[in-house]
């Protein structure tokens, strides 16, 4: 085809585009709403993805791809210029404080260059990194507050720390500080490289620990794929290996940032989530399709004459298609831009609401181009899909029919007759039957509009059903084991692995002194306690998350007794109050209370109350041998030889073995499930429960993990206030959970659903109403002349209004009826899906939202035709009669 006619087509397209102002405004609004939905979805998704990665990186302590560890200066210089390495940074570890005030914190004193500091999130909020040759240092707020130093640049502080086994006390001048991030595992004090060298010289540091004084090189490759392979390639090029020190002196240890490897967001997406995402995308496309399709379909059928005319004078079908495509594109540009803008704003708000409900994800707002490109692309696809049919329809219009169309002065006359003629011709035309007949003229328009309106109500109703179905009692009965649980703050942190917090007796004494409080302690021992198990059991348990080779290596370093191996156990010592909170699966826990050599084996159940049979090996009546170890020694797993006490093990393989210990044999008196809130809150070994007395006597420890208590109903409020003072503050070493807090958490979660769902329903509702507005408005404008004809033969303005309002009410009414039917039919289906997704969900049939929306719809159904007609009726009948030609 000729190129030069494009200009003409464009001219035609733009000219007819300008003529359809109302349609354009409505279409732009529709496209904008569709884009908003997509943008919100993408913003929340991408923000969560980046938040998830950020959290991983923070847990790791940095986002460099990997590091070469413990290098000499020469090795460092050799490796740093490798072409595979895009960026590198230098870090020199100097020392760690262990004494007051740092006995509870992990603090490292080291040198980091600007790259490493950036990668490790050590960027001063105020000030800068230390300069070479000065006594400056930069650190975080928490270190400063532990030292009792104000975060003011220029303040001096003194720290005592261990450098390769030797203690030193140094004074620094604060040159920069940043905020403390509780997720990052270690606090850092950064000093200049020159200062590290001074300290090493002063203390004559040899680097006995294999770490102090060596250089670490953090590197960034071109991208995050194949990090480990890249590192090995770099090493091989320079003649190094990372197989093992025993493979030769050219050994260099490497570390790959697991934030990039193990826990990628993509990997954590399970099939349900992916399907849910696809379903949401399809729903949005469908929502958009319903309205955009309808607008174009109505527009084309109102312009049949125009397209027929173009056809007659020689416009080909392809050219007509191009005219419509161009118009769709012209409407998409402002619609999508507007949608992206509004959608991003809404997305940011939604992200805040959603992330607040999720543990372990940092709140970040992604500005990835994927959001905008993706949302724009999906919107364009929606527009394209929506235009396909109307475009084909316009291209197919037969020129003769278009001519005929104009020949018969009233195109609708033949259709108008049909319902009246069919059965009872004597009855004549009633307003209602005329209205119904009018709706039947463009069936597809009527159906699409009704579906579009119903859709919004279905979404709203679904949101209510979900939020309403979240069963607080079901949730609380599972999640709340006692009115209050209190412990040292780290116990409640989701990311802490080695919980060393111990609740002191004086804290418990204060609580017990309160009126009406009845509670009990749980003691902990999760290290230096072992049980004898078979190799098969270990293989089975460890094999769930590790490769057979790694499991074999793991087993090698365990101590062997006969055919059995010693493995760590987690023990609970529970007072009667806590014991009574356990769910007994089998057996009797009263024996535990009496203080004999009895234990209860801990099992777990899923959220739906189904027991994991494999969770523990011990069955009722089995004998369990627990070894309480007082002192360990280290052995070589290859030879079995015991290492000398002062041997440096940092570069050797070793296993541990009990040197001083005591074995105790217990009988399993019961199988129990410990409510989630009363467990260690991490799983890593078999668990057994003992009575408190037996526990203290046998283990020799009395560290309180937590104290759980109930109080009288009328005391709950006052105790809650007291606990808030005692353990609720940021500076308190304790923290607590209570029934009230759980209720609040539950309500927050439910509100999140309500917010997100209502937001979606609101936008879908806007789409539905817009669709309705368009359907009514275009119909009234297209029928201007017809109305004039009707009025000229004696229909009063009031009757005409009645007819139009009836049409609008039928739209609204059918939407409501369809929604009711859908709700009744789909309720049971939705309930089973939802009960599968949320264990605390109980389906309750509800049509309240529909009944609330019904009057709104009916009012809109009446008002829109009324107002539009008045707009048309401003001009006289004669004017309108003449105008149509």
């Amino acid at each position: 085809m000729n190129v030069s006619n494009r200009k003409c087509i464009r001219r035609l397209s733009i000219a007819s585009f300008k003529a359809a102002k109302i349609r354009n405004i409505i279409t732009v609004a529709a496209i904008a709403l569709t884009t908003i939905l997509f943008t919100v979805l993408f913003t929340v998704g991408m923000s969560m993805k980046s938040g998830f990665e950020q959290s991983n990186f923070r847990m790791v302590g940095g986002y460099s791809h990997s590091s070469f560890k413990y290098l000499t200066k020469e090795e460092f210089e050799e490796l740093k210029d490798d072409p595979l390495i895009q960026k590198y940074g230098k870090r020199i570890f100097c020392g760690m404080p262990t004494k007051e005030p740092f006995q509870k914190s992990h603090v490292e004193v080291s040198y980091c260059d600007a790259n490493v500091a950036k990668w490790m999130f050590l960027e001063p909020k105020e000030g800068r990194l230390p300069r070479e040759g000065t006594n400056e240092a930069a650190t975080d707020e928490k270190v400063l507050s532990l030292l009792g130093v104000e975060p003011v640049i220029g303040n001096e502080f003194t720290m005592t720390f261990m450098v390769d086994g030797t203690e030193t006390t140094e004074t620094f001048t604060l040159c920069g500080w940043w905020e403390y991030d509780e997720v990052i595992p270690a606090n850092q004090v950064l000093i200049p490289e020159s200062r590290t060298q001074e300290i090493f010289q002063k203390l004559n540091t040899q680097g006995k620990d294999g770490m102090t004084g060596t250089l670490n090189m953090d590197v960034m490759f071109k991208n995050a794929s194949h990090i480990a392979d890249n590192m090995i390639t770099v090493l091989e090029r320079h003649g190094y290996q990372t197989e093992g020190r025993d493979q030769g002196d050219n050994y260099i240890q490497i570390g790959v940032n697991w934030g990039y490897t193990s826990a990628q967001f993509e990997n954590s997406l399970d099939i349900t989530t992916v399907l849910a995402l696809i379903a949401v995308v399809l729903l949005i496309i469908f929502t958009g399709y319903l309205i955009i399709y309808n607008i174009f379909q109505i527009s084309v059928s109102n312009d049949v004459r125009f397209y027929g005319l173009l056809k007659t004078i020689g416009t080909t079908g392809r050219q007509i298609k191009r005219i419509i495509s161009l118009q769709a594109f012209l409407l998409s540009v402002p619609g999508i831009l507007l949608g992206l803008l509004l959608g991003y704003g809404a997305g940011v708000i939604m992200t805040g609401i959603v992330v607040a409900q999720l543990d372990g994800i940092v709140l970040t707002y992604s500005v990835s181009p994927v959001i905008f490109v993706g949302a724009a692309l999906f919107s364009l696809v929606t527009v394209w899909l929506s235009c396909r049919k109307p475009r084909r329809m316009a291209a197919k219009i037969s020129p003769v029919e278009a001519v005929r169309y104009t020949e018969s002065s009233m195109k609708m006359s033949k259709i108008r007759h049909s319902p009246n003629k069919s059965k009872n011709p004597q009855k004549g035309a009633s307003i209602f039957r005329m209205a119904m007949a009018n709706l039947g003229r463009n069936r597809s328009k009527t159906v699409v509009t009704v579906i579009s309106m119903s859709f919004a109500v279905v979404v709203l109703n679904l949101t209510f059903t979900v939020a309403n179905g979240f069963d607080m009692d079901k949730y609380l009965s599972e999640m709340v084991a006692a009115d209050f649980i209190t412990a040292e703050a780290p116990y409640f942190l989701p990311t802490t692995y080695n919980k060393v917090g111990v609740l002191p007796e004086e804290a418990i004494a204060q609580i017990e002194a309160l009126d009406g409080v009845k509670g009990g302690r749980t003691y902990q021992k999760n290290f230096a306690a072992e049980e004898l198990v078979t190799k098969e059991l270990i293989q089975k348990q460890q094999g769930q998350w590790d490769s057979p080779e790694n499991v074999a290596r793991y087993i090698e370093q365990l101590e062997k007794v006969g055919d059995l191996y010693l493995e760590r156990v987690q023990l609970y010592g529970m007072e009667d109050f806590v014991l009574d909170k356990l769910r007994v699966v089998e057996g009797d826990i009263s024996k535990l209370k009496e203080g004999g050599n009895y234990v209860a084996a801990v099992y777990a159940e899923d959220d739906y109350g189904n027991l994991h049979e494999d969770y523990n090996w011990a069955k009722l009546g089995d004998q369990v041998t627990i070894r309480y170890v007082e002192e360990y020694e280290y052995f070589n797993p290859d030879t079995g030889e015991i290492y000398a006490e002062d041997e440096d093990l940092s570069n050797k393989r070793y296993g541990t073995k009990a040197k001083v210990y005591e074995d105790k044999v217990y009988e399993v008196a019961a199988l129990v499930v410990v409510p989630a809130r009363l467990t260690y809150r991490y799983y890593g070994a078999d668990e057994f429960v003992m009575g408190a007395e037996t526990f203290i006597q046998d283990s020799g420890t009395s560290e309180v993990m937590y104290y759980a208590f109930d109080c009288e109903d009328d005391q709950v409020e006052s105790v809650e206030r007291w606990m808030q003072d005692f353990a609720g503050g940021e500076d308190s070493p304790y923290a607590y959970e209570s029934r009230k807090k759980e209720e609040e958490e539950f309500n927050d979660f439910r509100n999140m659903f309500m917010m997100v769902g209502s937001g979606a329903a609101f936008i879908v509702g806007m789409v539905g109403i817009l669709n309705f507005l368009n359907a009514i408005l275009t119909a009234i404008i297209a029928r201007k002349r017809e109305f004039a004809v009707l009025q000229s033969v004696g229909m009063t303005g009031k009757q005409l209004n009645q007819m139009l309002i009836t049409e609008g009410m039928v739209f609204a009414g059918s939407s409501i009826v369809i929604t009711l039917i859908l709700t009744v039919v789909m309720g049971p289906l939705a309930s089973s899906v939802l009960e599968g997704m949320f264990w605390f969900f109980s389906y309750r049939f509800t049509v309240t939202p529909i009944l609330l929306i019904a009057p709104v719809f009916l009012v809109i159904g009446a008002v829109i035709p009324f107002v539009s007609y008045h707009y048309v009726a401003k001009r006289s009948v004669v004017e309108r009669l003449r105008e149509a030609e």
């Binding site: 190129v3 001219r11 035609l12 300008k18 020689g314 080909t316």
Partner: protein, 224 residues
Amino acid sequence: MTILQTKELKKVYGSGESEVRALDGVNLTVEKGEFVAVVGTSGSGKSTLLHMLGGLDRPTSGSVTVDGKEIFTLKDEELTIFRRRKIGFIFQNYNLVPVLNVYENILLPVQLDGGAPDKAYIEDIIDTLGLTSKLNNLSNNLSGGQQQRVAIARALASKPAIILADEPTGNLDSKTSQDVLSLLKVTGQKFSQTIVMITHNEAIAQLADRIIRIEDGCVRSTSK
């Protein structure tokens, strides 16, 4: 030279009892430069004939040859392109594109075809039809007679082989009808165009070189 010829042209709508033979074996020939009027009463089949001649609708059987091309051997898209190159239409209700101005309307068929308009020729047409002062008006701001003159200009613009006019004066008063028809005839002669006009008005038909009467789908007589 024969520019238009039909052979045994038939068009049947419906079937069985409700069968309507709109055209029942029409044979006619039009020479180049002729001005032919087709007359007949309402329902005689004259509009159907015009649709067939212009390739707007396909016949049940028979053939139409325009400028040596048997048009119904063409596919729909090809037929559309043939139509805009070889056939100019003038309708009773003008059928101008309301969103375009007069000049754009006149140029539309040429531009749709991607051709460069013959400026001098177009200006000549515009001048002859007295439209020079109206070129920038939107078509629906014009009177009926003016609109029909624009339609005539549009039909001439692409230098078609034949112009088909369907009741071109049907919507005009008698004075304007005379003006428009004279213009049609004058421009036809000036630009040596072949014109086939359909009308039910005997007085208007008298202006043509030849009158073809059609009744019940058949040609009844031809007269000068």
